[in-house]
């Protein structure tokens, strides 16, 4: 983005004095937050798979490990995609309602699998 950089002055509403939108470093922080979320999901997947194998639920362990790895990959990829999308000149910051819903659903599913595995140990 040509309007980004520490040297540019920003108004209170995030508008550069040239009139362009100036999102500062917020997209970078947001992309990093998506990456951290992906890492958290991956970590949860490792714990769930380990717990499932401990409880002799090998099939569940393998299935959940694959599914959660996929969710982590998609989460990371989505963060990168919207980072590139939001970096386009003049692009507005669209909210991510659908993506956040899927992420919430995935987290709830991880919670359900976690309870199943915990009870089975």
């Amino acid at each position: 983005m040509s309007t980004r950089g520490p040297g540019a002055s920003i108004g209170a509403t995030g508008t550069h004095e040239s009139g362009h939108r100036h999102p500062t470093l917020a997209p970078d922080r947001t992309a990093l937050a998506w990456t951290r979320s992906a890492l958290n999901i991956a970590g949860s997947g490792i714990l769930i798979a380990r717990a499932a194998f401990t409880a002799d639920l090998d099939a569940l362990g393998v299935a959940s490990a694959i599914a959660i790895a996929l969710v982590a990959l998609l989460t990371w990829r989505h963060g990168q995609t919207i980072y590139a999308d939001r970096g386009l000149e003049g692009a507005l910051a669209h909210h991510q309602l659908v993506a956040l819903r899927w992420l919430t659903a995935a987290t709830l599913l991880i919670g359900v699998v976690a309870i199943v595995v915990t009870v089975a140990i």
Partner: protein, 165 residues
């Protein structure tokens, strides 16, 4: 997530595609077309459109901050679930089942926070689009109270387990 609270009277929508068509795609495979594809998914597409038609467009930084807050809460929820799993695997009590009393509430608290964080994100997004104040969340209080309660419970269970030996 009260759908009935969708309102549009605070200002005209600034969406270019108010007629109902997806926004202009940049090119096949570009981020814009991927976003348009996401919006065609049946689950949430209607709500997404309604949210976009609520109020007026935000300063991007507010959208980013709201999204980061949601993601932070979601990570907290995942951490609680992971803590519950760790408790189930690594806590050693003589009485079978005592570890469940620690593990299950942690996981349930994580699931509740995950659900509530989405609700709070949507409420905040709508409030900001309508230029209304963002409401305080009850989640920090529930999180603090839950952790204190579970820690207290853990202490009591450790004493009971010791006495039962």
């Amino acid at each position: 997530m009260s759908d009935s609270s969708f309102e549009t009277e605070a200002g005209p929508s600034q969406e270019p595609d108010a007629a109902g068509e997806p926004e202009a795609e940049l090119a096949d495979g570009s981020p814009g077309s991927r976003r348009a594809l996401l919006r065609r998914l049946p689950w949430g597409a209607w709500h997404e459109r309604r949210l976009e038609q609520t109020g007026s467009d935000l300063d991007p930084r507010f959208t980013f901050a709201n999204e980061r807050t949601f993601l932070a809460w979601n990570r907290t929820a995942l951490a609680l679930i992971a803590a519950g799993l760790a408790a189930a695997q690594f806590l050693k009590f003589n009485l079978h089942g005592l570890r469940l009393i620690i593990a299950v509430p942690l996981i349930v608290l994580g699931a509740v926070l995950a659900l509530a964080s989405y609700s709070h994100w949507e409420d905040s997004e709508r409030a900001m689009r309508l230029r209304q104040p963002v409401r305080y969340s009850w989640m920090p209080r529930v999180l603090s109270g839950g952790i204190i309660l579970i820690a207290f419970l853990g202490g009591i269970l450790a004493i009971i387990d010791r006495l039962a030996q």
